[in-house]
């Protein structure tokens, strides 16, 4: 079940989306494809989870959306990370790295 694979730690999905968008502005489908590619298929996003997260990020003012034509001449909403979003991302990345390192140390200790 693809959904199982996105059963992430609360808030992690938001961080991954921010990270993906920090590289370049992208539309919803682009985000999910990019995340699948980068994670080598581990994270296959369900549309519901994706757009729920996007709505959350929008309302928190971490990203902004804008309708633009796609390369196939279709209209899609492209999302950009705001300044506040970048700050949040760098904070959360630092925190994440710290935690992962700590967890790894604990796991390796035994």
């Amino acid at each position: 079940m693809p959904e199982k694979q996105t059963d992430l730690v609360q808030g992690t999905l938001d961080m991954l989306i921010l990270k993906t968008l920090a590289l370049e502005p992208m539309h919803g489908y682009g985000i999910s494809v990019r995340m699948e590619q980068v994670s080598k298929g581990v994270f296959r996003l369900n549309a519901g989870s994706l757009f729920l997260a996007i709505q959350r990020l929008l309302r928190d003012g971490l990203i902004e959306g804008e309708w633009k034509p796609t390369e196939n001449n279709r209209r899609a909403k492209y999302y950009t990370v705001t300044r506040k979003g970048r700050k949040r991302l760098s904070n959360e990345t630092r925190e994440w790295v710290r935690q992962v390192a700590a967890i790894a140390r604990i796991l390796e200790a035994s």
């Binding site: 489908y29 369900n46 549309a47 519901g48 757009f51 309302r59 928190d60 209209r75």
Partner: protein, 886 residues
Amino acid sequence: MSLLRDVASGLRSLFRKDEADRELDEELGAYLEMAVEDKIRQGMSRQEAVRAVRLERGSVEVTKEVVRSGGWESLVQTCWQDLRFGLRTLRKSPGFTAVVVLTLALGIGANTAIFSIVNAVLLRPLPYANPGQLVIVPEAKLEAGISRAGMSYRAFTELRDTNRVFSAIAGLGGHALVLTGYGEPSEVSTVAVTSDFFSVLAAEPLLGRVFIRGDGERGAASAAVISENLWRNRFGADPGIVGRSITLDMRAYTVIGVMPAGFHTPFLNQTDQVWIPLVQDPLFSVWMTRPPQEHWMNAVIARMRPGVSTTQVQAELDTIGARLAKEFPTEKGWAIRIEPLQQTVTGDVKLPLLLLLGAVGLVLLIACANIANLLLSRSTSRSKEIAIRIALGAGKRRIVRQLLTECAILGLLGGLIGTVVAYWGVATLVPLLPSSLPRFHAIRVDGQVLLFALALSLATSLLFGLAPVLSAAGSDPHQELGDGARVGESAGPRRARAFLAVGEIALAMVLLTGAGLLMRSFAQLTSVNPGFQPNHVVKAMVSLPQFQYSTPKQWAAFSEELMTRLQAQPGMQDSAIAGPLPIVDCCISLAFQIVGNPLPQAGMDDTANYVPASPRYFSVMGIPLVRGRLFNESDSSSSPAVALISEALAKRYFPNEDPLGRRLMFGFPANGVVSREIVGIVGDVHDVSLGKEPGPMLYVPYAQAPLYGAEVVVRSTMGTSAVVGAIRTVTHAIDKNLPVTDILSLPDALNESVAQPRFRTLLLGLFGAIALMLAAVGIFGVISYSVSRRTHELGIRVALGAQPRSVLAMILRETLALTLIGNAVGVPCTIATARLITHLLFNVTPYDLVTLALASLVLVAVGALASYIPARRAMKVDPMVALRHE
């Protein structure tokens, strides 16, 4: 910022739903289309690609639902949806809705009505500024068993002038004075107060002013403050009333102020009132000079200074008390205490009122159990609908919320109609309330009460809704929608239903037993022989203005004249005049000494209740002579002083000797203490109340100890109004300014004396009956549902040769099991709660086996009756129909 954005975006999708929807649609459409194109590029056909994408990414509709439910605005939306859906569902089953709403309305209405009484009498602070600072200051002599007595004027002034803990302190004493000059002479409730009375209560007048220190001094002009009610009723709301003169007991008082209708003297329910300075009072002013041992002032109230603790106050009072005891030996043994005013005002009625509130709460609980039961049955029949909704993707939480919304609608509708019931209930109950209930004029359905009703509605919705809702939401769609023919129902809801019915029976038992105990106690109380024969006896009070009739000689002359004239009237031969009547007026308690016995220790006097009575009193009242003789016409002020005693006094003080011929020393202060010979013993009467043992009584000839006003009692077969008419005519023939008041027939007076127990017995009986009815409905519901679910099984049984009798026996066994378990649970609950009402019972123990047995018998019988209809249906099950049923 982000909160603002959240709200803005939420509002946008709430109010411009279509636009937000279209945008989401477009975005999702683009998303899925891109995914499909990718799949096609990988070599799938379009159809395959669309299916694959839907499997991988989820359907558009579900996604939209998920995204929409992410914001807060969706909560508003779904609530609105749930509300409309709930209303629609309820409208579709009007019978069910009506039963539930009416049951709830009854329960909530009854609770709200009782709460409005409790709120007005017990909870609402007294209607004075900072009521927490108000205390009453009684003197007490605990070793003599006196916990609350008045205070002498001397002790009062000492306390007033030397204490540092009260910001104001005042004494008051109440009686009735005769108001003349405005229409028919009438008695008005008069409160004689010291000058700080109104400042203790921090009360402001409506017109004019209240008393100041100068008004309380000797030689001051006589002033009066009147109540708004009196002002409106007797003086036509005359705006120039301040400064005018009114006549009380033939003496002129200048009105200096009018108190607003909302102001009441603590402890008094009367609304027509006059307040006069103590020094101007015809009775009490004389006593201001009396020595301290005469504890007379009805009450002393005080306002504690802000920030002073009760322990500080008590310490100060102890010091002052000790100083007084040193100065006046008679004060020895007396302590000055304080008691919160609120506690004193509501003390006696707290327990009965809380009992009623508890009982009516139990009724609501039973009603809730009933509704929960109904809902459980309904949710079983709605299980398919719910299963379909779960299968379509509704989350458990969403279902719970929707079902709870339905419950809340029911609860609020019930509360709404319940409020109407409460208004009606309060209007019906208030006239039934015993007039001795403190603060009963404050009872009404107000904001607080409405808030209570609202909270109650919501709480009950949760209470009756929780079990059925959780059981419904927990259902498994696979099982509900599978093809397996379901015979019977799953054990969960069925057990829950049986559990609820058992609970109902247990609660009903508690209420029934409580009601039964009160009824038995009330029956015992009213079957008490009062010691006199009340039937055909009418009494009226004739008061003599004390400034006009100031000497005992005048009082005696008046009463003799009155009796002579009255007895000359046709049908009025059996009439008498006497002091306080038993139960009606209660008592004048006097200390007495037996001549020849050693003097009692100081402060340990023997006391008895004192009644001056004219010769025919005993035959009018039907009080039997036990030994010796009654009074006769020759017992006059010039003949030897004599007395009659009651059997109780004879038994207690002359256990081994003949009291006849012995002498007693006592006297009502007005005519002083004299030695009287005991000439007879009469039967006991219940002097205080039917519930209290008869106390020792002293009777003296009225002619030897007249009063300035007394009760006229007449035994006559003529109607009350004819008798009173005769008394009025005769009295006014002597003096047209004399009021004839407090007219009562003695049977009515006896009835009135048990008004409080009657009221609570009536209400608790009513609650017990409702509880019984609800429990019966509950049992009926469980059994009839069980029969309808078991139609199939019963059909098989009948097909296999079961006789209708055995089917009936089976159903009855089921009912019996329910009621017996209910009883088994109920008995310990009942025993635990019955203890609480011990103080309200008269001659019945709270563990009365007869009542308990009767209550459980009634429950079993009602249970059997309730299961009769479903049992008959079960007996008539046709196997052919039943087997085709599923």
